[in-house]
């Protein structure tokens, strides 16, 4: 399904796009299974219309909003972003979305709102991965950002990619995209947003705090305990030509460095 006109932007115009087939058939979306092609195979069961998002916590405007409500008045733009997975592979994806800051302003967060929490849909009927008795994940999937990270102009809410409505396996109908952080921060199929005074619990950080930090900024200096983060494979990767490139701090988005000035990134990984 094609999406309405999206304004072009200069983001990533010099990047080579990852083919649509890789973007949509190689996903981590454990709600649909742990295999990389499980989301592509099983996500069609997800019903994204009607869809609503609950907003509460430290803000003036609370309640349940339909997707149409949330999109009203947002002008969509295309942003070509690099996506760096914590598993050391990466893609370049032409997202369609709008700045998260524009959405946040509508809820009028209070001064006490220091963090923002996001929650993915939990529905065992539609999401077979959530029925697995062997998952290490305590559903629903949760993520969070510090308020200044959420308000940063690079942070977007995506509703499409490659000029069409988000395929379900990519987090339809509404997902976060934070290009300077590992992909798992960019939570999919969001049903709740909560403004908080304190740092929210986040799924992977809960499972293995030594492996996945709250910040999860892309950082070639800080290895995952089980693999190096110094380089990445840009997908699709060939067998004999693996397409390996060096990983850059903040995934090359240097403009976010000021958010972390004075912080020890080895400690707050």
């Amino acid at each position: 399904e094609q999406i309405g006109a999206a304004r072009e932007t200069s983001f990533g115009e010099d990047e080579v796009l990852t083919p649509y087939s890789s973007v949509t058939q190689y996903n981590n979306f454990y709600e649909f299974g742990t295999g990389k092609d499980d989301p592509y195979r099983y996500a069609s069961k997800l019903k994204t219309d009607p869809w609503s998002v609950t907003v509460d916590g430290e803000c003036e405007v609370k309640g349940s909003f339909t997707l149409e409500d949330l999109l009203k008045g947002q002008s969509l733009e295309e942003r070509i972003y690099r996506l760096r997975c914590v598993e050391a592979w990466s893609m370049v994806i032409p997202w369609i979305g709008f700045p998260l800051a524009d959405l946040i302003k509508r809820f009028k967060p209070l001064a006490s709102a220091k963090y923002i929490e996001f929650i993915t849909l939990e529905d065992k009927k539609q999401m077979p991965g959530q029925r697995s008795a062997f998952s290490t994940i305590d559903w629903p999937y949760r993520e969070g950002l510090r308020m200044d990270e959420a308000m940063h102009p690079l942070t977007i809410m995506a509703v499409g990619l490659y000029g069409e409505v988000l395929p379900n396996q990519n987090g339809a109908p509404l997902r976060l995209v934070v290009p300077w952080k590992y992909g798992f921060k960019s939570i999919k199929s969001i049903v709740a947003i909560r403004f908080r005074e304190t740092m929210p619990r986040t799924t992977w950080n809960d499972i293995a705090p030594n492996e996945y930090g709250f910040y999860a900024n892309v950082n070639p200096q800080v290895d995952h305990p089980r693999w190096s983060q110094a380089s990445e494979r840009r997908l699709p990767s060939g067998l004999f030509k693996p397409n390996r490139i060096s990983t850059r701090l903040f995934n090359g988005y240097d403009e976010v460095a000021s958010l972390y000035s004075g912080m020890d990134l080895h400690k707050y990984y």
Partner: protein, 209 residues
């Protein structure tokens, strides 16, 4: 009959290799869907899984013969094929190691030292392969004769190396623990069956006998 069984077993054992081989050939002509956009990782996982499968089958031969108590199984048939099962385990383990070197490490052996120290599962995997190597080399009848009693002792290395392989897999759990735990449980069961037999043999007056 034994030749026919050997041929059938060989064809079955080589099938995963043929499958991954054709997937790699088709990948070169652009059909990447079979192995996905990270084919190197896919090949390493595939060969590792099959190495482990054949290791389990090899370990299962003796307990199966005892549990089934079928005379025809005990007398010849199963034990005659254990060597081939073990050699297939070695074959896929070698492909696993080779594809790790080629596709994931990309022959940057300078990094191997640092990687192994930091990531114990690599060390465990490689140690297991090194322990498997002498077993494959001495699997022939000639070596069996030359080593006499030592051959049996040497081939008991399969027990510790199976434990290493199980831990090698367990250390890679991310979001789903089903398969690594299942494989570890199978190794544990197959080893316990032997341990139980060994204790029974040592204490012939025990209640079990």
């Amino acid at each position: 009959m034994i030749r026919l069984r050997r041929i059938v077993l060989f064809v079955l054992g080589i099938t995963p290799f043929l499958y991954i081989g054709q997937a790699i050939v088709r990948l070169q002509s652009g059909e990447w869907e079979i192995l996905g956009p990270e084919p190197g990782k896919a090949v390493v996982w595939f060969t590792g899984t099959w190495a482990f499968n054949f290791l389990l089958l090899t370990l299962a031969v003796t307990p199966l013969r005892r549990l089934l108590k079928q005379p025809w199984l005990i007398q010849h048939r199963l034990i005659q094929h254990r060597r081939m099962l073990g050699l297939f385990a070695f074959f896929y383990a070698s492909l696993h190691l080779l594809s790790y070197f080629a596709f994931l490490l990309e022959w940057r052996f300078a990094e191997l030292g640092a990687e192994t120290i930091k990531r114990p599962y690599l060390l465990l995997g490689m140690t297991a392969w090194l322990l498997l190597l002498p077993l494959a080399v001495t699997s022939t009848r000639g070596w069996q004769r030359r080593l006499k009693q030592g051959w049996k002792r040497l081939h008991k290395l399969i027990y510790p190396l199976s434990v290493l392989v199980a831990v090698h897999y367990l250390l890679q759990i991310r979001s789903s623990w089903f398969e690594p735990v299942l494989y570890a449980a199978l190794v544990l069961c197959l080893l316990l069956l032997r341990w139980q037999k060994a204790t029974v043999a040592k204490h012939p007056d025990g209640h079990n006998s």
